[in-house]
Symmetry: C2
Subunit: 98 residues, 2 copies
């Protein structure tokens, strides 16, 4: 199984409506792409200084399923049109899980 993790920091001037639009758009991705086994998203709980603002952890059966998700037109649209205008930093990784 492939675990895809990505974290973002919002632009300082991203207001609550824009943040909610980002969360809402990302929440549609499992259904839009149809290839994830598990898909979690959430805002940081505020337990530590310096944390990122929100994260997505998606699990995919194999590399092909992950790449189908990554390259899906609806995913690309949401990344370019909704996420990128709202964020300043991004941290990502994909790794194998049992």
């Amino acid at each position: 199984m492939i675990r895809h993790v990505v974290m973002f920091k919002f632009r300082e001037d991203a207001d609550e409506a824009q943040r909610q639009a980002v969360y809402g758009a990302i929440a549609t991705m499992p259904e839009a792409t149809g290839v994830s086994e598990s898909y979690t998203i959430g805002p940081d709980l505020g337990l530590a200084e310096g944390n990122f603002d929100f994260a997505v952890v998606g699990d995919f059966a194999d590399q092909e399923a992950y790449l189908t998700y990554r390259d899906h037109p609806e995913h690309q649209r949401i990344v370019f049109d909704i996420i990128r205008p709202a964020i300043t930093d991004r941290a990502a990784i994909q790794f194998e899980i049992p």
Copy 2:
């Protein structure tokens, strides 16, 4: 449930032995701390440029369990003595999952 995610980038001069020492130390944490429901770790698969080098995703029953893990003396020892000397960048977040 609390999902704790952390990613690291190794120092350029961290050799393979030092990287394996980091993975090995982190792999002992679930047993040493005794409070995680799920704990995954892995090196980046190399599917994208600019990714972090390795990540940990740990799930904990509640905030108290996560804080027990975070503040556990053995966790602190591994963070200070083994991880920090080997890395340049760290990205972290904790968020709620169902």
